[in-house]
């Protein structure tokens, strides 16, 4: 049957997407049916989590913010922690992959495209979470622009992360369309902002003289280090999935990407562990009002179980996994990455908790004096799960429909160690046109659907060069 191009359709990358409702629905259904069962189950699970989280988010929309567990003595809760974690994941992704994208070190180049998509998703989720936490988010847009407050680190954080979002959009756009020069400059800009943005985020906490645990110059530095660790860990998890599910350029996942992740993780662990030891040691011996109480609460008080879980499960065990001979297994690096990311998330949680746990006054709503108390509510936890699910969903779809393999359309700043492209003939100069899994032909009558396009490329794929194993 002759397939006709439906007149009302748009071309997105190499896919023809019909816009009229019925053909669009049919195309979507055909596409879903063409997915393997595991992928359908995964997407279904994510959509279920997102649905529940959407309900939770709708409940919390102003004036519904009472569903959060915050109180006057503990105003920053899980939503702020979630924002911090997603924001530093974004920065960390660009930091760790800047070694490949900006400095052109070959072994880090596999991170190139995937980090960008992950970074945009992560930053969007961070903004979504903070919009749900703020009581009047629209006012922030106007207020921050019309009345700049340069004395406020939070204002600077907004400026930097807003700029970061624009730069990331340009970077993603220039990555999937052939604009190598724009891509090079935007990667460099993103990597630069990725250093300053988490520093401003750390400064939001660091300038608070009222909260001795937050106060000081080391908080921004710790934030950057945590960012680096979180971004690298996320890349480790993703590249394990690439290796496991044989996604684009999967051969390099196990051979190049995961060992690179291991190197970066070890560097990140070293820095984060050193900073943590410094913080605890200084805090326990300090005379600054509230600092010793907060640090004691952290290591031996109400926060102790979470803190030691973070240290054991989020630092000690992953480092062991990466140092012992077991590290040659991809599963070990993946497990270490997952534990590292969970450790960073838990670490930021106990950080935000520890800063506020030593109460300033007995009357301002403290419940369990001598420690202020806070417990995340189900709404907050659900929203966090939903944000992670949206990010996972976005990334799964991106991995499926975009070409995430390395490209050769790349230019670097003229660092001395970068060879010219035609010299690095390792088979990576041409991406694989053959998809790793044959997609079933979709039986669709009307219009060219996504499935048809994919099915047609399978037999017509041309492998232009030998592929290195």
């Amino acid at each position: 049957m002759q397939a006709t191009v439906h007149p009302l359709s748009v071309r997105i990358l190499q896919y023809e997407v019909p816009l009229a409702p019925k053909p669009l629905a049919r195309a979507v259904v055909a596409e879903i049916r063409s997915m393997p069962l595991a992928l359908q189950a995964w997407l279904g699970f994510l959509l279920a989590v997102i649905a529940v989280a959407t309900i939770a988010a709708l409940v919390s929309i102003p004036p519904g913010w009472e569903v959060f567990g915050t109180s006057p003595s503990f105003e920053w809760g899980l939503m702020i922690v979630g924002y911090v974690v997603f924001a530093i994941m974004t920065s960390g992704l660009c930091l760790s992959s800047s070694l490949g994208t900006v400095f052109g070190i070959e072994r880090f180049r596999p991170f190139e495209k995937r980090h960008c998509v992950l970074a945009i998703l992560s930053l969007t989720m961070a903004f979504l979470i903070i919009a749900l936490d703020l009581h009047y988010p629209i006012r922030m847009v106007f207020g921050a622009v019309l009345v700049p407050s340069p004395s406020s680190p939070m204002w600077w954080m907004g400026v930097f992360y807003g700029t970061y979002l624009v730069i990331l959009l340009v970077e993603v756009w220039s990555m999937f369309t052939p604009h190598p020069k724009i891509h090079m400059y935007s990667c460099a800009a993103a990597a630069t902002v990725a250093i300053f943005a988490p520093m401003t985020l750390g400064a939001v906490f660091g300038v608070l003289g009222a909260k001795a645990y937050f106060n000081g110059i080391w908080t921004p530095i710790t934030m950057v280090a945590s960012a680096f660790l979180a971004g690298t860990a996320l890349l480790g998890i993703v590249f394990y999935a690439v290796h496991r599910f044989k996604l684009a350029d999967w051969q390099h996942a196990a051979s190049i990407a995961l060992p690179s992740v291991r190197v970066l993780l070890l560097a990140g662990f070293a820095v984060v562990a050193a900073l943590l030891v410094r913080q605890v040691a200084v805090g326990l011996g300090s005379d600054i009002r509230g600092l010793r109480e907060a640090t004691t609460a952290l290591v031996a008080g109400p926060l102790a179980p979470m803190f030691w879980l973070r240290v054991m499960g989020g630092l000690f065990i992953p480092v062991m996994l990466l140092l012992l001979p077991v590290h040659r297994r991809t599963e070990a690096i993946a497990a270490a990455s997952f534990l590292a990311l969970a450790g960073v998330a838990l670490d930021r949680f106990v950080f935000v908790m520890a800063g506020q746990i030593a109460p300033i006054s007995a009357g301002a709503g403290t419940v369990s004096y001598p420690f202020a108390s806070y417990a995340p509510s189900m709404v907050e936890i659900t929203i966090m799960g939903g944000a992670a699910a949206i990010m996972a969903l976005g990334y799964t779809l991106a991995e499926r429909y975009l070409d995430m393999g390395e490209s050769d359309t790349h230019m670097f700043l003229p660092f001395p160690w970068i060879k010219k492209h035609d010299e690095t003939d390792e088979g990576r100069t041409h991406h694989l046109a053959e998809p790793s899994e044959p997609k079933p032909a979709a039986a669709v009558v009307v219009g060219a659907t996504l499935g048809e396009a994919a099915a047609r490329t399978a037999p017509a794929a041309v492998v232009t060069q030998g592929v290195e194993s």
Partner: protein, 232 residues
């Protein structure tokens, strides 16, 4: 008018893609600015003016704060009408306490002026809680401050004995006569008796012990004096 040759040469040297990009950039900026202007214009029509809200000059907001309604008045205003109570107040240990400490916010009452009546007063006769709020014995109160332990102090109503404005108690008279061979107290001191109690005295009881809780008998001649009330 012919464009100068240098500009034409420059424009020709720019690639079509870059030219298109430049046009798109300018177009996008204009679209963004127009959209923002439209938002503000619509907002102005809908009486939401972000420029009033977001100007650096703060007077609008400061005026709002200064223009809030009051609930409490200044206690010195009360003396204009309530001279008696005011004199009692400033003469004794309760001096310095404003009327509103016990009677609640009185602005509405004060502003009613000549037409003020008790309907605008929240607390006409303060209950025991008002007195006990200050006078219950508690750790932290200055030693010189008069405190009682309520369970050990006769409290049915504080105002039975204490004048609220001076704070001074009419000590209940001791029994001036021996108690043997006498009928119940209420026989003489009840409403029909020849030695009736005053109006503010609490309700009598058939049980004489109740009377003796305050009017203890036989304390000795030095205390068998006339009531030690201080009349203003």
């Amino acid at each position: 008018m012919k464009t100068p040759a240098r500009i034409r040469t420059f424009w020709d040297s720019v690639r079509p893609r870059t030219r298109r990009g430049a046009f798109l950039a300018v177009f996008a900026i204009l679209v963004g600015a127009t959209a923002l202007t439209a938002v503000f214009l619509v907002g102005a029509v809908m009486a939401w003016n972000p420029y009033l809200d977001y100007t650096v000059n703060r007077d609008t907001n400061a005026k709002q704060w200064a223009g809030l309604e009051l609930s409490f008045t200044s206690s010195s205003v009360c003396a204009e009408c309530h001279q008696t109570e005011h004199t009692r107040l400033v003469s004794a240990t309760h001096q310095g306490i404003g009327c509103q400490s016990c009677h609640g916010p009185l602005l509405a009452h004060a502003e009613a002026g000549a037409k003020a009546d008790s309907s605008t007063v929240d607390v006409k006769v303060p209950t025991n809680e008002v007195c006990l709020r200050c006078h219950t014995s508690a750790v932290g109160r200055p030693d010189a401050f008069r405190q009682i332990i309520p369970s050990e102090h006769y409290v049915s109503s504080c105002l039975e004995c204490h004048d609220p404005h001076t704070g001074i108690a009419n000590r209940p008279p001791v029994v001036l006569h021996p108690l043997e061979d006498l009928p119940p107290c209420l026989t003489c001191h009840g409403p029909e008796g020849f030695k009736a109690r005053n109006q503010r005295h609490p309700e009598g009881s058939k049980d004489d012990n109740k009377c003796l809780e305050c009017h203890a008998a036989g304390r000795g001649p030095a205390e068998s004096q006339a009531p030690q009330a201080v009349t203003p």
